[in-house]
């Protein structure tokens, strides 16, 4: 059993304890009840903030994905809005650790619920405001890498927090510089290169460890990073994780100077620059992302077009996918789910990853679906 905020309840979760009417103490919903959208609304309407739910793993199996998608999309959007309030607000008054922690604990709950769906959300939408969605996505990715490293929930909270505010220093860099799609002047470059330091300075109330992670998130394992040019073990371990997550998410996002890359191109870039990253973390990262990361659009050997929706840790070439278009280009509705690791699909393989142009045109065709 664990406590969960009513805001984060999802249909299918099972109540671990009776919910009582705040005024009278009579039972509103009893323990063991499987929550529905309707019930969650009612609980919310009574002004109840937190409830106890039964084991998350069990409830996860009972939650249907199609019910989860809209709910988690909403969480993700809300997380980005909250990140915006926190980060934008930091220019007026010092940022409070408590507010960030609260958002991170919500992110942790969502990752716990369905990390694959969270990863899917990171690139199915193109957000107008890169900085805030980027901070949320890097936080999610860093938490996932931390989980694979066996981090405790305290450590996950810490890395999630540091990741959420890693680019805070960008607020000190004039908007026109980091939105510039032209070559930067030396002065502008210095400003950009100092953003990790500015960020660290803005986190006066935060634990020392968070501050040093933020200051070092642009350092690279081979010493090619900035601003200090630290190398190897001199860089905080969690800063190395966030540095990798940062590069990946930046690659799969639209930037002023280039449009977004496909997940596989992002991996390729990271592999080309492999010396910049801690080999141990890189290995864990590959096991989390696999070779066709979530969100990849691929052509199958059957000619069909599919999107990777879940990766298989043990079979990085054999993910679970949704077939979106048949071999003649006709859209399948609903999409057909296929597990390449299933014995009946032995004959099917991923032929190739689609190009960025194909990615974009397919995402456009899918439109409202995501």
């Amino acid at each position: 059993m664990r406590t969960i905020k009513v805001l984060n309840l999802v249909p299918g979760m099972v109540l671990g304890q009776d919910i009582l009417f705040p005024q009278t103490g009579a039972t509103l919903v009893s323990a063991g009840t499987k929550l529905t959208v309707e019930l969650i609304r009612r609980i919310e309407a009574f002004g109840i903030k937190e409830v106890m739910i039964a084991q998350s793993d069990k409830s996860r199996q009972e939650v249907k994905e199609e019910e989860l998608i809209p709910v988690m999309t909403e969480y993700h959007n809300r997380a980005i809005n909250t990140a915006e309030e926190i980060i934008s607000g930091s220019s007026e008054q010092p940022i409070e650790e408590g507010v960030v922690k609260e958002l991170v604990s919500e992110l942790l709950e969502q990752v716990d619920l369905d990390s694959d769906l969270m990863l899917n959300l990171s690139h199915l939408k193109s957000y107008d405001n890169y900085l805030f969605s980027h901070c949320v996505n890097v936080s999610i990715l860093s938490i996932l890498i931390g989980e694979s490293l066996g981090y405790s929930s305290e450590e996950l909270n810490l890395i999630g927090t540091a990741a959420l505010v890693h680019d805070l220093g960008m607020m000190k860099v004039p908007n026109k510089i980091w939105k510039k799609n032209d070559v930067l002047t030396p002065e502008e470059l210095t400003l950009i290169k100092n953003h990790p330091v500015y960020g660290g300075e803005m986190l006066k109330d935060f634990p020392e460890e968070v501050v040093s992670i933020v200051k070092e998130h642009h350092e690279r394992f081979d010493g090619s990073g900035y601003p200090q040019g630290l190398k190897g073990d001199d860089i905080a371990f969690k800063a190395r994780i966030i540095g990798l997550a940062d590069v990946y998410d930046a690659c799969i996002s639209n930037r002023p100077y280039r449009s977004k890359l496909t997940p596989q191109q992002a991996l390729q870039i990271i592999f080309q620059d492999k010396d910049k990253f801690d080999p141990h973390i890189l290995k864990v990262f590959i096991s989390v992302m696999a070779i066709y990361p979530i969100g990849s659009l691929v052509q199958l050997s059957t000619g069909e077009i599919a999107r990777v929706v879940r990766v298989n840790k043990y079979q990085p070439f054999r993910p679970i996918m949704e077939i979106l278009f048949d071999r003649n280009g006709n859209k399948l509705e609903p999409a057909l789910r296929i597990d390449l690791d299933d014995d009946k699909n032995n004959m099917i393989h991923i032929k190739h990853n689609l190009s960025p142009e194909e990615h974009n045109s397919i995402l456009e065709k899918l439109g409202a679906a995501f």
Partner: protein, 152 residues
């Protein structure tokens, strides 16, 4: 029977950026044959029954795996590299089986199994092997094929 495998190997190696694959002299080998450092075997069932075995040195396997893994350098031949060789063998065999199907022999394949280590002996129940030696940009790859028609 050997041509679909030859065509499939060339096609897959080409898709991995390997234009200059050359085939050596096709041959027969009686069972058992000595494998190489990395051996991936794929079972075939259906109208044809048997095994296809891909044998290569660890260096060659690392080069194949690295390309399959988007250029990730392979320093140790780990699980990731192994899964890449399995997928490579699966794709080649899958392509060959598709072509066999076009010719009216319908088959399926079983997931590849990998044997790593020197002095592996490969045996087949009742036949010898057809051997396709390939000289590729990754290094030498030998494909041993032991297939017979299933009893109708």
């Amino acid at each position: 029977m050997i041509n679909p495998f030859l065509a499939a190997s060339f096609k897959v190696l080409k898709s991995l950026g390997n234009e200059k694959t050359k085939k050596g002299e096709l041959g027969l080998a009686s069972s058992p044959v000595k494998g190489d450092e990395v051996n991936a075997t794929v079972g075939i069932t259906g109208d044809l029954l048997g095994q296809v075995i891909f044998c290569m040195s660890q260096q060659t396997a690392s080069a194949v795996a690295s390309t399959m893994l988007l250029g990730l350098p392979i320093t140790t031949f780990d699980e990731l590299a192994k899964s890449a060789i399995c997928e490579f063998s699966n794709i080649v065999t899958g392509n060959a089986i598709t072509e066999l199907g076009d010719k009216g022999q319908f088959c399926n394949l079983t997931p590849p199994t990998l044997f790593v280590g020197k002095d592996v002996l490969l045996s087949t129940k009742d036949l010898g092997f057809l051997v396709i030696p390939l000289k590729t940009g990754f290094g030498d790859i030998k494909i041993y094929i032991a297939l017979r028609e299933a009893d109708k």
